[in-house]
Symmetry: C2
Subunit: 375 residues, 2 copies
């Protein structure tokens, strides 16, 4: 009853303020085919998702006064859970969520916690809960019965930061057996508040590559992912961002370690750099600062290049620029057209129906990989 | 004031019941040199530990009525936090904790959540919060400026469970460069409620090996860690435990994959199996069922072998049995003596001042590794 009254109040306020909200999704009834999210902790029944993309949450906190989940339709403060007689709190999003991966957390009596049912993923400079809304195209990042590459945790020495730094290295299927073969390398960066675990945990980069390689759609190559928040941006904003510390780690420390410890084709014509969001910003600056290091550039929801940015066109084999259709696709397409007109090999990709989230970046990697190392 | 009254009540009850409790630690004042735990999430100030081994917690939940932390001195229901004016809840353990790693969680108004300040570790069939009490011997698992091995995530095909299963593989420093060298392998299992991430995340197995190898104290070898809860024990008890499903995964699927994809010395004389707690139980059963597969056996807080268990002494190069001094050291020492008397190469190790926790197992691996693959 309390819930109904609140909804009516919201309706009244909305009409009074003449805010153009669509209520179609709110009144629609969620189909009752909810199943545990594929990203739940082993054996946990909640959170759940249904075939329409609704998410349903269940949190135990018998003595709490208020439990909310940060995930829900935009701008409405997430999803408020209501208490059942057994002391559990339950609630369903007011409508379907976008396909793919979403970060979220739970607010219990004013404190921010993770959902004990969900796995955790590093984003927003903390380990957040994650939920997976099944996507129509989820096959391309599914775990299939194909040969699987390995993902290695390496600890590489970094004099500039006076420590051993962590990176993850994807080696493609066959890497161990084909001892004579050398491989090109993609350096792939996460976004602000994420870390070097994001591209495999949230992005399934390894499974995307395993599947593409099994289908013969991509050359086998190595992917290297490391932590990109090395300076004052660590827990602050991007305003005073200085690329130098991270560029030193990447170009002077990580790349030499990888070229020494893995069977790489160690030249710019076999080296790509890409990144999502802040990682795109880093990619743009480092590729332009170090034209002799990389020849394939990829910005995923991470800005654009202008033709004038490129000093020598012969340094560049490919520029790939992407984003979700709910971001700024016009800017991505216009920038790509301008680069093409200037004679550069530029490709754009727009992920349909997705925003600044990992489904956009999974799809972007899936589009990018087949274009890499063809020269 | 409330807190004092409760303490007095506890005292009264204890004396009344004549329970021999030591209150020395409770009345001792914690030295105010608290620092963030080394296992905190990046940038998080709490939880903290002091030089004596006290742990201090701070949880934000302004509207909560009750916040408790499961960690604290045994049998007293953990540590009750008290609310400050700013809406945060704080509390310190009543005394020093054992050295090393501890799992814990937070109870907020009757709901179980993780501490948003701490990293998460898989234990008790859930991702739990973890805290590290600095140990006097912590150097042996510290991240040092030495050559580091890699830890690879592999996905190996498993017909018996109809999926690709995950394992982690530690390859020692130099593995990539020394292409002609082949290595012995230790198969190392986690305990009940843990998973294949435990030995590197909680146990720092990779750093222990890096440091031992750098000091010339251990031969370089490969370590393989996979998930051992493959059957009905998954979320239940160990009563109806059947080793067959896991033995099939380990012996018929994982070992052939590892021998195919890594440069291993693929025979029993270069293969060890060890495990902690439930992993020790698995080790005992599999090594005895498959005497042609392994020749080095290690039980870490995971039971003992009797001389009669061993059918052919020539199958066994080493039996290593360990536990914490707060477990059952007499049983471990007696069993080892009996094995020695029967002519077996048996070694026991007791970790001083620790219980059924990871500090016992870190130290056990540190003792075990130098003894392996010497024949």
């Amino acid at each position: 009853m309390m819930k109904k009254r609140i909804k009516l109040l919201v309706l009244a306020l909305s009409f009074a303020g003449a805010i153009p909200l669509s209520f179609g999704q709110q009144t629609e009834t969620a189909i009752d085919d909810f199943r545990p999210s594929s990203l739940n902790q082993p054996g946990k029944e909640f959170p759940q998702v249904n075939s329409q993309g609704y998410a349903r949450f269940k949190i135990e906190a018998p003595a709490a006064d208020s439990v909310r989940v940060s995930l829900g339709l935009g701008g409405r403060g997430g999803t408020k859970l209501t208490k059942a007689d057994d002391g559990t709190w339950m609630g369903t999003t007011e409508g379907p969520m976008d396909e793919g991966f979403h970060y979220y957390h739970v607010n219990v009596d004013g404190g921010i916690f993770n959902d004990p049912g969900a796995l955790n993923f590093y984003g927003s400079v903390r380990w957040e809960s994650g939920i997976e809304i099944p996507a129509h195209d989820q096959e391309f990042y599914a775990l299939k019965d194909v040969p699987h590459g390995h993902v290695q945790q390496i600890l590489f020495p970094s004099k500039s930061t006076d420590t051993s730094r962590r990176a993850f290295v994807y080696t493609p299927p066959g890497y161990e057996q084909n001892q004579a073969e050398k491989y090109p390398v993609l350096y792939l960066q996460h976004g602000w508040g994420e870390d070097e675990t994001a591209w495999t945990n949230q992005g399934h980069a390894n499974l995307i590559m395993d599947n593409l390689i099994a289908e013969g759609k991509s050359k086998p190559f190595i992917i290297v992912m490391t932590y990109g928040m090395t300076n004052e941006i660590k827990f602050g904003g991007l305003r005073n961002f200085d690329i130098t510390p991270f560029q030193t780690v990447m170009v002077d420390e990580l790349i030499p370690y990888v070229d020494k410890n893995f069977r790489t084709l160690a030249d710019a014509s076999h080296r790509a750099m890409g990144g999502l969001s802040m990682g795109g910003m880093e990619t743009k600056q480092i590729t332009l600062n170090k034209p002799d290091t990389f020849s394939y550039y990829a910005l995923l929801s991470g800005g654009t290049y202008a033709p004038d940015d490129i000093k020598d066109k012969s340094d560049v084999n490919l520029i790939f620029i992407s984003c979700g259709s709910k971001e700024n696709p016009e800017r991505v397409n216009e920038a790509t057209e301008a680069l093409k007109k200037a004679g550069l090999n530029a490709v754009s990709y727009i992920s349909e129906g997705t925003a600044h989230e990992f489904q956009t970046w999974r799809r972007s990697l899936h589009q990018l990989a087949p274009l890499l190392f063809k020269n």
